[in-house]
């Protein structure tokens, strides 16, 4: 009696172990494929110019601009960076009829476009460099 049970169970054990391995691999696969690999063609986006590992805080390499994008140290912004030279609400980029505009939100250290401090809303062109604190972004718009 026991022998039959043992014979049956050995197959069940192997099946369970492999299902277990399979389910873990599947979860890991979902984890990896969940990462952002969106295509950047025909989209406007900001590209980080600094080397990512030279900045002592968390930041992404690319930020896609969708209608509006805010940047600052506070958690409500679309881009949150823990750079001490960045204000709580630093700047924002707004889209209007396929054109993109940059606006400083009263930051203490200012926002620079191609090296000049901005005071008013300015239009962004492809290849412009936006600087805030230690961070430099390249604006890309290839529509």
């Amino acid at each position: 009696m026991y022998n039959i049970l043992a014979l049956l169970f050995k197959y069940i054990f192997i099946i369970i172990i492999y299902l277990f391995i399979f389910s873990i691999i599947r979860l890991i696969y979902l984890d990896i494929s969940g990462m952002k690999y969106q295509s950047l063609d025909d989209k406007a986006y900001l590209k980080l110019i600094n080397r990512k590992d030279s900045l002592p805080f968390k930041i992404e390499e690319y930020y896609i601009i969708d209608k509006e994008l805010t940047f600052g140290r506070h958690g409500d912004n679309d881009i949150v960076v823990k750079d001490p030279y960045v204000s709580k609400k630093h700047f924002k980029i707004v889209e209007d009829e396929d054109e993109y505009y940059l606006e400083d939100l009263g930051s203490s250290n200012g926002t620079y476009l191609n090296g000049d401090k901005i005071y008013d809303i300015v239009k962004l062109n492809d290849g412009d460099i936006i600087k805030a604190g230690q961070i430099e972004f390249l604006f890309v718009n290839r529509k």
């Binding site: 026991y2 022998n3 049970l5 043992a6 014979l7 169970f9 050995k10 197959y11 069940i12 054990f13 192997i14 369970i16 172990i17 492999y18 299902l19 277990f20 391995i21 399979f22 389910s23 873990i24 691999i25 599947r26 979860l27 890991i28 590992d53 002592p56 805080f57 968390k58 140290r73 823990k82 001490p84």
Partner: protein
């Protein structure tokens, strides 16, 4: 039933444990006492809950603990089948291991001065070697056990975790150390070689090999002075040949590996019995309780893998190897994602530790490399081994989370 089988690994693990225990209880026949049943039920519950709670309290990796508890369950079922008394002890060790895992997790997470304690790790390691030589007890040809009262443990299990801490604290601050002394990495190499020499004197060849692999791998990744890596490789070749020529116990291991059949009565006995057991099992095994794993000497520690292959089949054996591979893969991924240099090297070291340790002993029992006594992490019987493995796992769990620097913590405070 269908919901239980639906792809959640936590439920599959639960099902596996329940079925395994049921089968074992039927196998042992007579009524098992209530205490054992209580411990078994308790542990199954603890493992299930731990896996659940961990996803809530830790933002890091959820898979490493799941994989290790699966390995531990396979181990317990096998050990309990070979020897009931040891099986119950192993249940207690695993429960303590899980407690230690959570304890380590919180301690390492809360205290933030680990990278500055290089000298303390160093002194601790030498101190442990010293007590091994004073209180050391000879078992299975190696002097690596310390008995204090009724309690005995293997100091080398603690030293290997300390070694990873030493290497991490050195390489994460290597600029400062190099400024302090130009030849500091030579000194580090000297220290690691002194560890290896001491282990060699204790005849603990497996652990010596493990230490060398961890050191060589981390040095290969982080050492700027590339010349040193070649020196390291050249030295180990020289010492390996010298060791073979000068020490009989190295020679015996090597000969037993080249041709165990010639020495089947003595040196080759273990390895041939292990090969017989694996061959006997075939693809699906003999069935739990129907084989003869007790023919192999020290089956519940070093040769647990052969016993598993005999009774649960080569497929389970391959499954175990795959579980270790996924585990090491997760470990490397944790190391790559970690931004803090110290914790990154720590994660790397621990992944290499588990990968290398399982490779050395699995390779040994299937006669792929010379056999050296080491435990299979999480599966083999043994208090020291289980506790140190779960401690290392706790550290790896911390490494899998985002470690905030001090400035960031202050920022979050206001």
């Amino acid at each position: 039933m269908k919901r239980l089988l639906s792809q959640s690994p936590r439920n599959l693990l639960f099902l596996f444990q329940v079925l395994g225990i049921t089968l074992l209880l039927i196998n042992k026949g007579r009524a098992t006492d209530r205490l054992t049943l209580g411990i078994v039920a308790g542990l199954i519950l603890v493992i299930y809950l731990s896996n659940y709670i961990l996803t809530k309290i830790s933002k890091g990796d959820n898979y490493i603990f799941l994989i290790t508890t699966m390995l531990a369950s396979i181990g317990i079922i096998m050990i309990y089948r070979i020897n009931e008394g040891l099986g119950i002890k192993q249940l207690v060790w695993i429960s303590m291991g899980i407690i230690l895992f959570f304890f380590t997790y919180f301690i390492v997470k809360k205290i933030r001065i680990w990278e500055k304690l290089s000298y303390i790790y160093l002194i601790g390691a030498y101190f442990l070697f010293l007590i091994t030589f004073i209180f050391g007890d000879k078992r299975h040809g190696a002097i690596n056990w310390v008995n204090i009262g009724n309690f005995s443990f293997q100091p080398s299990e603690i030293i290997k975790v300390l070694l990873i801490f030493i290497l991490s604290s050195y390489y994460s601050n290597k600029e400062r150390w190099k400024e302090f002394n130009k030849y500091s990495s030579y000194y580090l190499m000297g220290i690691v070689y002194s560890f290896i020499a001491l282990l060699f004197l204790q005849r603990d060849l497996g652990t010596a090999m493990l230490f060398y692999i961890i050191f060589a791998a981390i040095q290969f990744i982080y050492e700027d002075d590339r010349k040193l890596i070649f020196i390291n490789i050249a030295l180990i070749v020289v010492f390996g040949i010298l060791g073979y020529l000068l020490f009989d116990h190295v020679k015996i291991r090597f000969q037993a590996w080249i041709n165990p059949w010639r020495y089947i009565e003595r040196q080759g006995y273990q390895i041939t019995q292990s090969l017989f057991a694996i061959a006997e099992g075939g693809f699906f095994g003999k069935g739990l309780g129907l084989g003869h794993p007790d023919f192999i000497p020290v089956v519940y520690t070093d040769f647990i893998f052969s016993a598993i292959c005999e009774e649960m089949g080569i497929f389970t054996g391959i499954g175990i190897i795959m579980l270790f591979m996924i585990f090491v893969y997760r470990g490397f991924k944790i190391a790559i994602a970690q931004r803090n240099e110290f914790y990154r090297i720590l994660a790397l070291g621990i992944s290499i530790l588990f990968g290398a340790q399982s490779f050395i002993i699995l390779g040994g029992v299937i006669k792929m490399i010379p056999l050296t006594g080491l435990t299979l992490p999480f599966i083999s019987y043994g208090g020291s081994s289980i506790l140190s493995s779960f401690t290392a796992l706790g550290i790896l769990q911390v490494c899998s989370e985002e470690i905030k620097s001090k400035e960031e913590l202050d920022e979050a405070g206001d």
